[in-house]
Amino acid sequence: MNKAITELVQGVDNLITLPDVFVRINRLVEDANSNMADIAKVAGQDPSFSMRLLRVANSTFYGFPSTIDTIPKAVSIIGTSQIRSLALATSVASSFEGLPNSLVSMGNFWRHSLYCAIAARILCKQAHKCDPDAVFTAALLHDIGELVIFNRMPQQAKEVLYLVLDSADELPVYLAERQIMGFDHAQVGGELARQWQLPPMLVECIECHHDIRSAQHFPRETALVHIANSLALMAETQTLDQKDVSPIDQLAWQIVGLDAGQVIPAVVGEAQEMIAEAEKLFIGK
């Protein structure tokens, strides 16, 4: 591992902390002796999370036929591992408030992340064989390394963005980062996730979302986040032309077993329809 990356991430260690409710639920999910009631109890002790959890559970994201009005009911219907994903997803934006920057507004940053998360979740449901809520969270976190770079290395980050624009927006941001800094935001985000001891699937998705061929343990989830990232850019810039956004590795489509032509327009359209509600639920606006 690149020493510069490790140091960079250690430098922000005291500025961002993982939400307590996630840490506690995570511990319970990993603990074979815990049960649903334990998890519901921990979730219920955090009023802010309880409220968000019930709002998400009753939103169109899940579309459950009946109202979910209690935390134990939410845990039993949604599932314990999924509650863990939601604990991270609904609070990660606020945990990065201690890491401000002048290059991108937090609103714009999280909107892209959410577009990616929504697209990944839809793709995941179509591709099967993976957990939509876990992939949603991985996609929501895919660019967190960018926030570290923007906060710690503002001058180089600015040079990166200028270089991208100088290339007529043909040079992808991560390649411009490698050129100027010797590493990219995916590597930084991966290292942050590792130091936070996030589940290995999240670490790999974040670290390899631009380089899916390096994903060794979770190629399927990584490929979904990789594809979702480009679809998020399409949704944001209102285009359906793949040439307008970061190129998608053909291997990603093979891995997930979906056809680009068939899924892109529908997924982009659906993400655009869901973004406003998702911002209210997850970013708290």
Partner: protein, 209 residues
């Protein structure tokens, strides 16, 4: 990777514009900053990023000589303190930005009757501020109408920054809406240009940068 052909010579007066080979377009590409313009007879492209600024892309559709500018009207004091000389300075500044480019095109073999115009930019990428993009769009539309020119295509307004790549020799243009990650950089570039052009009015002269 094949070596790119030699860089074609720029027209006199445009030596300062930065040009480099662009792999994707397989052409030399001239990079315009806010306040600059570039006219060419070569088979090359011109590109720029636009927030609330305007780019007019104008060419002689017969001979292929053409160019692109990138400008905005200087800010005028808030509505209450609006003085007529400020407004006329802003308009004069805009007129110059358009005239300079059109004159260069005509000087280099273009005919007024053959000119076709494409307009881009004028976005509102910072919410809440006065809509300077709209003011730029209104100015350029009025200018084009008064001059009796034809707009053959446009992509203006909205809330996104744009990357515009223009080939005067063919008239082909590619407009790419930029992801919001680039908003602040585009705003930065335009703000420092805006500061340059407001500091000049008392001289009465209009100077393009």
């Amino acid at each position: 990777m094949p070596t790119p052909p030699n860089k074609p010579l720029p027209l006199p007066g445009f030596e300062h514009i930065k040009r480099a080979w662009n792999e994707v377009y397989a052409a030399y590409a001239a990079r315009l900053n806010p306040g600059e313009y570039y006219v060419t007879r070569n088979d090359e492209c011109i590109y720029t990023t636009l927030g609330s600024c305007i780019s007019a892309c104008i060419r002689d559709r017969v001979s292929g000589v053409g160019g692109m500018n990138h400008f905005m009207l200087p800010a005028v004091p808030g509505d209450a303190g609006l003085k007529s000389e400020d407004v006329s300075y802003a308009t004069r500044y805009g007129n110059f930005a358009m005239e300079h480019m059109i004159n260069e095109i005509l000087k280099n073999g273009g005919y007024r009757k053959n000119l076709e115009v494409k307009l881009f930019g004028g976005g509102r990428i910072i919410a809440g501020m006065t809509d300077v993009g709209k003011r730029n769009i209104e100015f350029v539309r009025k200018y084009i109408a008064i001059e009796g020119l034809q707009v053959t295509s446009e992509d203006v307004g909205d809330t996104v920054p744009r990357m515009v790549v223009y080939f005067p020799s063919t008239g082909k243009v590619r407009v790419k809406r930029l992801r919001s990650l680039h908003n602040n950089i585009v705003v930065d570039m335009e703000s420092s240009y805006q500061r340059q052009i407001v500091e000049k009015p008392e001289s009465g002269e209009v100077e393009l940068f």
